[in-house]
Structure formats: C-alpha cells, structure tokens
Symmetry: C2
Subunit: 378 residues, 2 copies
C-alpha cells in the first residue's frame, strides 16, 4: 500500500506512542502532504484533518484513483485556504492505509502485517500522531486546525489535548460523540467485512483475494448516510439505469442501485478493509464528554484563547445540527469564542465537501479575521 503516497515521516521510533487503549506503538510512519511554505515566524501553518475514508491528498491528485484532491475547491494558490499565504499540512490518520501506520503495515515484532494485532485506536491517538508530525516539521503553533466530519472530531480533540498549540479551529458537520444510530451503521459495515470469508480474521494480506465484497457492502451502507433523502430523490428518484422498464430481475434497474454498486466497487481499490474496521471503531469510541463526567464544557476549558468556528448543515442526518450545537453550547459554557452557523444546504452530510457558497462566505470571514489576529496580512 506504500506506492505513490507522497511524503512520509517516521515518528515514535525512539520513544513509542502510548495509545488511549494502553498499548505502545513504535515506530509510526505518517504519510502527509504539504502545500505552501512555513513563514519565518512560523505563524502561518494550517492543519487540515480528513474524514473517515479521506486522505492527505487534500489538494493533489490521489495516487491510486488519479482524481483531484478532495478539497481542491478550497485549498490552493489564491483559494479560500490560500497556499501562497499559508503552510498547509494534511496527514493520513493513524490506522488508515495511505502511507500512515495501520493494520496493513508490517508489525516489527513479526515481520508480517499487523492485521487484528494492531491496537484499537481513538481519534485522540490520531491527533497525537499529528502533533508529533508537526514537531517533526518544525511547526509549534497552528494558525488553524480545520476539518469536517471525522476531521471535525480531530479538531475537537486538538482543542482538548493541545489547546496551547492552537490559534483558531474550524469544525464542520461533526459531533463530540457517536450516537447509537452512528454506532449501529458502523457495526453493520464491520459485520459485512467480517462476514466475508476472504477476511480470514484480518489475515488476508498474504492471500490473493481480499474481503472486497464485504468492504463494498460496508461502503454502500455508509454512503447512504452521507446523502440526504432529498438529495437521493433529486439525484436519482426512481429513474431507471439504461433501460425503459424494470427488468423483473435483480440487475441494477434503478440508477441509485447502479450508483451505490459503483461507490462500493471503486472504494475497495483505494481502501483497506481492516483500516475500515479500525477507523470506524475510533469514531464509535468518541465520547469527549464521557471523559469529563458528562460535562463537555470541561473538555474545552483550556481552549478559551482559541477562536472557534462550527458549521452544521440543515440536511445532514449523520451529524445533525443538534450534535454540532452541543459542541457550541459547551464552548460557550467554557468561555471559548465560537462562531456558529447552521447552513441551509440540501446535499446531506457531504455538504462540507461540496460547493456551498454560504459555507465559503462564513469560512472566508472567519479565516480573514483569524489571520489578522495572528498578525498575518489578510
């Protein structure tokens, strides 16, 4: 899985990484991309955190699919996150499969892939690795940490764990905990992977066949939760796929079936099934308030100096406005300055990845003010 993965750093080789689950991990390789240059004052670094199946290729072509980066719309020279002004870093999360250590990496103790011997990780563990990468890159304080969905959860864990290294923080379409329904959808995906006989209890790396069918079903299920019911209706409705009438069979008669099958089958080319297990587990374990006896505000008390921005989308039913508002209320209670907007967008959870002008306006205003406060020309 290590071809074309951009830059890599090896961290935690002298001192191992101590994980929330108690295990030690050493070394930890991190795949990452940078855009722009760190200024002399080291005040212009921005960390972008990616979502569940995202990657570090935020503004560069994906090494496997060849497709443009997932946020090229916003990140680049002269763009909203201007790489002529900022030094942008994005790294593949711990447990994933695009250059960063995960269950598909070689376990130094055995010389074989970890498989299920890889320790279960948390969102905070991902953030610890990001902090070590920034040390490695000579970045002390971040002008901003930005992320949507699971990326937003990393932003929240930055605020709880390394608030002293933050100047501002932007969390989009996210939550401070996984709900029962969130866990339920992930559990279905994990069961689909584990039900695939090619999974072999996670030891499939030496086999020719991978658990592609199970991973594909997991992706299809999750994908439904990324789009609103309304978006599916507008995009596909009951339109038929390349036929005039239903076939009275089990082919993909409907466009929505064809679309989902495509989402599933292309996903397996770029993602590792065990990584899907580990990263979804990290999401399910997220419960920031749970670490503070149920008081989410206590998690943010050390972040009162960080300018925050939280954005939710009306049609997001995966991490709906109510979950984003919980974060905002806790920040307010902790004295953290926070701008919040629920933006009217019909696309569902994926809105944060799409062209939503109102989101751009809000981000532009926030970033401009944050840059000025940081002493950077706006």
């Amino acid at each position: 899985m290590n071809r074309h993965t951009g830059q890599q750093a090896t961290l935690f080789d002298a001192e191992p990484l101590r994980l929330d689950g108690g295990a030690l991990l050493s070394p930890v390789t991190v795949g990452y991309e940078t855009y722009g240059n760190l200024n002399a004052d080291r005040t212009n670094a921005i960390l972008i955190c990616h979502a569940l199946t995202g990657d570090q290729f935020v503004a560069s072509n994906h090494p496997i699919t060849g497709k443009p980066g997932w946020w090229t719309r916003l990140v680049g020279p002269g763009k909203l996150i201007d790489t002529e002004k900022y030094f942008v870093v994005c790294s593949n999360v711990l447990g994933s499969c695009l250059g960063t250590t995960g269950p598909g990496s070689t376990n130094p103790a055995t010389g074989k892939a970890y498989g299920l011997d890889f320790p279960v990780i948390t969102i905070r563990d991902m953030v610890r690795v990001q902090a070590a990468l920034l040390d490695h890159l000579g970045v002390g304080t971040l002008m901003a940490v930005i992320g949507g969905s699971m990326g937003g959860m990393q932003v929240l864990e930055w605020l709880t764990t390394y608030p002293e290294r933050l100047h501002s923080a932007v969390a989009l379409a996210t939550a401070a905990r996984h709900t029962a329904q969130n866990i339920a959808f992930h559990e279905v995906g994990r069961q689909a992977i584990m039900a695939d006989p090619n999974w072999h209890d996670g030891r499939y790396y030496d086999h020719a066949a991978k658990p592609d069918k199970g991973l594909s079903v997991a992706r299809m299920t999750a994908h439904i939760t990324y789009l609103s019911e309304d978006a599916l209706t507008r995009k596909f409705g009951r339109n038929l796929q390349a036929r005039d009438a239903v076939s009275f069979g089990f082919d993909a008669d409907f466009q929505v079936e064809s679309y989902l099958r495509h989402q599933g089958s292309t996903f397996v080319d770029r993602f590792d099934a065990n990584s899907y297990l580990y990263v979804t587990r990290a999401l399910d374990y997220l419960d920031i308030a749970g670490r503070h006896e149920g008081r989410l505000a206590d998690a943010f008390r050390r972040a009162a100096h960080v300018r925050c921005c939280v954005i939710s989308f009306t049609s997001d039913w995966l991490y709906p406005t109510v979950e984003n508002k919980r974060i905002v209320h806790a920040m307010n209670a902790a004295g953290v300055p926070v701008s919040f907007a629920e933006i009217d967008a019909p696309h569902g959870h994926d809105s944060f990845l799409l062209d939503v002008p109102e989101m751009d306006h809000m981000l532009t205003g926030f970033m401009t003010a944050a840059a000025r406060a940081r002493g950077l020309e706006a």
Copy 2:
C-alpha cells in the same frame, strides 16, 4: 420450510396466476391463519396484511420462534379487532417462506427449489393471491383490509385492483412508492446476501450452509431504518454491554451492537434469504402513480365508496408522513372518504406494531363507524 405453518390452500392449479412481470405461476400454495367465524351474511371478514418479514401468525404463536403473534395486542377476542365479532384472515405473502409459494418452494418443472428461477413479483401480485384465497374461503367482500408498512402497500393495491370487494381500508406507516433512499437500503441488503459465498446464486437449498451471514447483515441494516434515531438513543444510547469500559477490540462493546447482532442472528432462523431478495424487490418496484402517468389519484378513482383511514407517525423516517400524505391527497382528489392522522410517537417506523394509545383510539373510532355502516353491531 413447510412444518407448523398453520392452514394452507392450493390455488391457481387449474388456471395459472399471471404476474405483473408476465410470468405464469401454477400452483400457488398459500399459508394462512383465520380467527373467528364468517357470519351468515358474510359481511364480517377482515383481511390483515403483513409487513416485509412478517407472517400470517398475527395473533397465534410463531411456529419457529414460539413467540406470540405480531399483533396479538390488537387482534383477539374482545380486542380492538375483535375476533368474536369479525372473521379475521391473514396470509403469508407470495414470495415469502412460511407456507406460501416462494423461491424456496419446489418448482414443479424441475422438482427442485425455484431459487432465482422464481419470477420477480410485485405487491399487486401478492394481493391477487390474497383475493384468490378469499374466494377459496367463500369471502366476497371485506368489511376491512388493514395493514402497516408493506401491509399498507397491499391495502393500497387492494384499493386499486379490487375496490369492489372493499367496504373499508386502513393503511398505516406506508407509501405508494419506494423512494431512492428506500431502494438504496434494500439494495445494500440484497448485495450483502449475494456477496455471501453460501448464497450460490440462489441455489443453496441443497447445501448444509445457508447465506446466513449475508442475510444477517441485510436484516441489521434494515432494522436501523425501523427505529428512530431518538428511539435508539433512548433505548441504548452509548450504554455498554455487560462491561464497565470499552474493550479496545471488536466485540459488541455497545448494547446497540449486541442488539443488532441478535436481530441479525435470530432472523436467519425464520426467514429465507431468497425470499428477502424477492420481497424487497417487490417493494422497490412499487410505484402506484407510475402506472397512472404519475397521477396517484387516478389509481383510487374506482374506490370512492370505500371508507379509508391513513395513519403516519412523526418519528417514522422509512415511510414518513410526507409519503402518507401523498396517499391522502390522492384519495381526496379521487373523492375517496379518508380519515388521516399523523400520530406523535417516538419509536420510528415500528410504531404501528407498538403500544401507541392514540393509534388505538383512532382505529377504534374508525372500525366502530365502519362496522355500523356495514350493518354490524358496533
């Protein structure tokens, strides 16, 4: 699959059943249950239509699980649907697996199970078989046809196909078409079944192993859609299953995971994987307005003499109020007398199966008036 299935009738042996897909089916065996007695005037018959994975054991113990019938709360002597007053019929739908002909039945042409040689069916095909069963039982006109979810869709198809045989009709938590999101969830379930190597292209009946894992994942996915997000939160939240802390592993740490796994694993004991493919396909094909150039009202024009009742539930996101209202608006446009209520219930789609007093009040009032209009003592 034919043990303990209650009563059975063999229909369409002289004249085959012509299906919507064009295929002919002969014979068709129907598993059914009856409660109470048909009166001398033959005016007191009620047909109850079951949901996707439901069955004819509406008020009697399930032959496989031993559990009480799925609507014993409402059906029985002295109950809301009083079997001392009404002759209640409930039959297993065409394509299912509890006594009625489906893909697991023997294909007379080969002497083996149909498997995927079974023709794809529609909700209207199910209703045609029910009409033939009523002929067999000597029931001409129904005092009422009643059903929730897929049962409600059968009620709608009764109104479009045999309105002259209806006096009243009750449809709960249903829709006149499957939306893109409805189709998407079903497609994920079908793909999970078809991905199971024990499925063998539907020819697993001679094998010791059935596609239980795939069917279990399909059931787990669907089950999430039957409950509201709020119901999952209230029922399970992030509660742990028989442990004090998360395990940092892939066991069912959370109660919601344990619950879903249980739903999946018990389902496979009572349901056939191919039947799941066929019945979900019938649901996805439902688009009553589509048969009438998009004008749903036209489907109900012959039913202006039938008293109708439509009930939706606030927390139902599978067949939400907006879909039920489409039915009501069409009925109104067609001059069909219809009572409608959106009932405030937190349980999600499954509300129609649960103890919701406001639903009982509405049904009691409707049934009493319908019985009086039918000349039965209320």
